[in-house]
């Protein structure tokens, strides 16, 4: 924590960056919140601990934040993966943001270039955790009707506040498909069809892109397990197409590439 504050102060004082995007204490003990330190004093409020899980990379797409000038970004692993995907998707130029990773030992690693981020991530564990896998298997094992019932109940709570979309670093479209009304792709109401279509399209638009930062599920005020939809597609995409979004700047989006011998058993 001290290390982070010192680093932030140094960067701001040296003028290397105009803002350090990090975390500070939130309303209660369970919560940390995003914090934008723009001068040396403010760096005192920076914290970094287990509470700090929001993917701050999302803010790099926000005009007001862009306007602050070059940023140093305190990155959890999900945020680092986001930077890689931003590079793939042409949303961020190299060296325009300084990534700060905090090691378990508490020391701060500066990652000024995509190459450095890629290298740093190479050492990290990949793919879904055993817990995530088990959760998928649990639902997969349910009989069709129960699976449908489970999701009907989950999605019935969706109020279409689009917190999932706003929190997702990769939902950066200036106009989301839900805002297209010619044709009206997704029913506006948070009715059963609207909620189903929204959650399907959200998951599909992230298939092969999702860096599994978990922000969507964390953001959902209704606690809907939308992350499962991302996970099931991530598992499929990696199993079928070897998709590993977020670990390199190589442009190999699973859905805009193909192999003539991609395997499937369902096409007659």
């Amino acid at each position: 924590m001290e290390a982070l504050q010192k680093k932030a102060r140094a960067l701001l004082e040296a003028g290397t960056v105009k803002v350090v995007i990090g975390y500070t204490a939130g309303t209660d003990v369970e919560r940390a919140r995003a914090f934008f330190a723009r001068n040396a004093e403010q760096t005192q409020q920076l914290i970094f601990d287990a509470r700090c899980c929001q993917n701050l990379a999302t803010y790099l797409m926000k005009p007001e934040v862009k306007a602050l000038g070059k940023a140093a970004l305190v990155c959890v692993p999900g945020a680092l993966r986001t930077l890689m995907q931003y590079a793939v998707e042409n949303q961020l130029a190299d060296e325009t943001v300084l990534a700060l990773a905090v090691t378990d030992a508490g020391e701060v690693v500066e990652l000024p270039k995509f190459a450095a981020v890629e290298e740093y991530l190479a050492k990290m564990p990949r793919g879904l955790t055993p817990e995530q896998q088990q959760e998928l298997d649990r639902i997969d094992k349910l009989p069709l009707e129960e699976r449908w019932a489970f999701w009907a109940a989950e999605l019935a709570r969706c109020v279409k506040c689009y917190a999932c979309r706003a929190a997702c670093p990769l939902c950066y479209c200036s106009r989301c498909i839900t805002d297209v009304n010619q044709p009206q792709w997704v029913p506006v109401a948070s009715d059963p069809l609207g909620n189903l279509e929204w959650n399907v399209v959200r998951a599909m638009h992230l298939a092969g892109r999702c860096v599994d930062c978990g922000s969507c599920a964390d953001a959902c005020p209704e606690g809907i397990r939308i992350d499962l939809l991302n996970h099931v597609l991530a598992r499929e995409a990696s199993a079928h197409f070897g998709a590993e979004p977020g670990y390199s700047t190589r442009k190999d989006y699973a859905l805009s590439a193909y192999k003539p011998d991609d395997k499937e058993e369902f096409i007659r």
């Binding site: 998707e89 042409n90 949303q91 200036s174 044709p183 442009k251 989006y253 859905l255 805009s256």
Partner: protein, 663 residues
């Protein structure tokens, strides 16, 4: 408010026989936006089209739905009709009441209801159609002809004589193809080479034709009028410009025992060789696989004897890039090797030949100067059995289709044999005799009646050797399947005509389709026999299906005339069914967010990057832009775009949704 006209076609009884067309017209009249709905016997007829034209004018229609046959059949017809009365042709859609309804369902309510729905779907679509205008693209007036057989030669000469540049690519060392191997040709029995070689020379000397022999197509990119072809010029090991074709090298070459491809393995050739004496160009190549120097680094005899110092052992394959506006595929065929008929003993017995080998035996330029001799002992055969359909029309062991030319050339072979060996006996085992064609039947009758060829209707079961004779066992189905056994001195198998072994690879290179037998597919079996489904690529000769010479030549001229037609304009206009990226005023300019994930999905690399700049030159954003000349309108990018910022003209998201809302 839309003003849609609906026109239901009876197609005689074809539609009206199953669908209550009057009811459909009545239902359609009530569809929102429909102001005119009628049915008529033949919409595609002149009076039918006039009904549409008049209605467009009188009712001020903003859209037209013609419910008739498949749009793949008559869409152009009706769109033209609309255009003629001032309605943008792309405001006309067709509902497929024939192929997709009346022909496939029983007469009844459900069928009429479906017909109504099909019209409803199209009405909802056409309401959302926008006027579209053809896109014009420049045309490079150079044609690429693949293959230097008779089809390729004909096409190349026709195009070149019309004043356009032609590039001919032939994989062998000489043009001429299979026709050069033939002795006489049916039904006139005139000498094949005598009619072919002058054409070969004409190609070589034609100012508009550039000839690449011993070369192959490496890749083909681009689109109609604007292809980029890369040709691999295989290393000839000879400098063609300095070589005089004197042939000294060939005489001196120590490696003389290589079976000659041209002579169908019946004769021998050297390692440095020209395929045949009248070869064009008459410049040798070194067959590096068999050349002593290339095998063990020593020899170079040819270099020593070459007066022109034209040998280039270090020559490498060369890649030549060409811009062409059209491609004619005339890559020809192969004869199926007979090893799939072990019971016919081909290969086991020297005197069992393929049709092509017999051609070489009978040819004056062949290994025996046209004397019919047994390869085994050089004796003149007294009895020759010809087996038709050796592989063709044989789903069990061979191929399903009929090779078409065998009936005729077998008759020809028997005739030639009888002319050359008056005492000889000729038998032909056949299934049916297919002699459709000008003077063809007469030709076969001549073989039977004047040249006394014995036709035996039946299949051959086995051929084996017994004290120096080839025993041909079969049945005569005309004599109630009595077994027949003929002691022959020579057997000629009319082996099947098959696609080139690499036809599939070529098709994929050119992005054209092919059938299950790997023959290239024409765009329409009847109406577009020389075009392919990829615009700008045409087909001629036996690479499309088994053909004889007159057919191949006719198709070649057909393909040539298509190319000439295409080259008759400096610009050609393309269907505007292409993708477009949303553009709007400031502050957004476009909803495209520039992720460019569509870039790699486009099969045609049609997606480019466009920088939107402010007046002061500051970059506002970089968005996708579609090259309308390159885009073929598949719409893969449209389905991929998350923000729906890219759409496909003619099949917009709005149109498709509207179609679904009618369910």
């Amino acid at each position: 408010m839309p003003r849609i006209g609906v026109f239901i076609c009876h197609c005689g009884e074809n539609i009206a026989g199953t669908v209550d067309t009057a009811a459909v017209a009545k239902n359609a009249a009530d569809f929102p936006g429909v102001v005119h709905s009628i049915d008529y016997k033949y919409m595609c007829s002149d009076p039918g089209q006039n009904l549409i034209k008049e209605a467009i004018k009188e009712k001020k229609l903003t859209g037209v739905v013609v419910a008739a046959c498949s749009p793949r059949m008559h869409e152009p017809t009706f769109r033209r009709a609309c255009a003629e009365s001032g309605l943008n042709p792309f405001l006309c859609e067709m509902a497929n009441l024939r192929e997709h309804c009346s022909w496939v369902h029983e007469k009844g309510e459900a069928t009429t209801e479906k017909a109504t729905d099909l019209v409803r779907i199209m009405v909802e679509k056409v309401k959302r159609n926008r006027p579209l205008y053809p896109i014009s693209v420049p045309v490079t007036k150079t044609a690429l002809v693949l293959g230097g057989g008779i089809a390729g030669i004909q096409a190349a000469l026709d195009i070149a004589n019309a004043g356009h540049k032609v590039v001919m690519v032939e994989r062998e060392a000489s043009i001429g193809g299979h026709m050069a191997q033939l002795s006489e040709t049916f039904p006139t029995l005139d000498c094949s080479q005598c009619i072919l070689t002058p054409r070969m020379v004409e190609v070589a000397q034609h100012p508009n034709i550039t000839l690449y022999t011993y070369s192959e197509l490496e890749s083909l990119e681009g689109f109609i009028g604007n292809f980029k072809a890369v040709i691999r010029k295989k290393a000839r090991s000879i400098d063609e410009t300095t070589c005089t074709g004197c042939g000294a090298c060939i005489q001196k070459c120590p490696t003389k025992k290589i079976p000659s491809e041209f002579n169908a393995q019946l004769g021998m050739r050297t390692a440095i060789y020209v395929p045949f004496p009248q070869a064009v160009p008459n410049k040798p190549v070194i067959d590096r696989k068999n050349c002593t120097f290339f095998k063990n680094g020593r020899c170079k005899l040819c270099e020593r004897v070459c007066p022109a110092k034209a040998l280039r052992y270090d020559q490498e394959d060369m890649l030549v890039e060409l811009n062409v506006g059209a491609v004619v595929a005339a890559t020809g065929y192969q004869v199926k090797d007979t090893d799939f008929f072990p019971e016919y003993g081909y290969g086991a017995h020297k005197d069992i030949l393929t049709g092509l080998q017999f051609e070489r035996l009978a040819s004056a330029s062949g290994p025996t100067q046209g004397v019919i001799k047994r390869p085994s002992d050089g004796q003149i055969p007294e009895t020759v059995v010809f087996v038709a359909c050796a592989g063709s029309r044989d789903p069990a062991k061979g191929i399903n289709y009929c090779s078409k030319i065998c009936c005729m050339y077998t008759a020809k072979h028997a005739m030639l044999y009888r002319h050359k060996v008056h005492s000889g006996k000729a038998y032909i085992f056949y299934m049916d005799i297919r002699a459709g064609g000008k003077m063809y039947e007469e030709f076969v009758r001549r073989a039977i009646e004047e040249d006394h060829v014995n036709y035996v209707r039946g299949r051959v079961s086995r051929i084996y050797k017994k004290n120096g004779k080839l025993i041909v066992k079969g049945v005569d189905t005309l004599l109630n399947s009595r077994p027949v056994e003929i002691e022959a001195d020579m057997v000629v198998l009319a082996t099947a005509m098959v696609a080139q072994p690499d036809a599939e690879a070529l098709a994929q290179k050119m992005k054209v389709s092919y059938d299950e037998n790997k023959f290239l597919s024409e765009a329409h079996p009847k109406l577009r026999p020389v075009e392919m489904n990829t615009a700008g690529i045409f087909v001629a000769g036996a690479c499309q299906a088994p053909k004889d010479i007159p057919e191949a030549v006719a198709q070649a001229s057909g393909a040539a005339s298509k190319v000439i037609g295409l080259f008759s304009k400096d610009e050609l206009s393309r269907e505007p069914v292409v993708a477009v990226v949303s553009r709007m005023g400031p502050p957004d300019f476009s909803t495209c967010i520039g992720c460019f994930l569509c870039e790699s999905a486009c099969p045609y690399q049609a997606i480019e990057r466009e920088e939107i700049k402010a007046r002061d030159g500051r970059l506002i954003k970089t968005v996708a832009k579609v090259n309308q000349g390159v885009c073929q309108g598949c719409g893969t990018c449209v389905a991929l775009c998350r923000s729906k910022s890219i759409d496909l003209q003619g099949f917009t998201n709005e149109q498709v949704f509207a179609e679904l809302v009618t369910l």
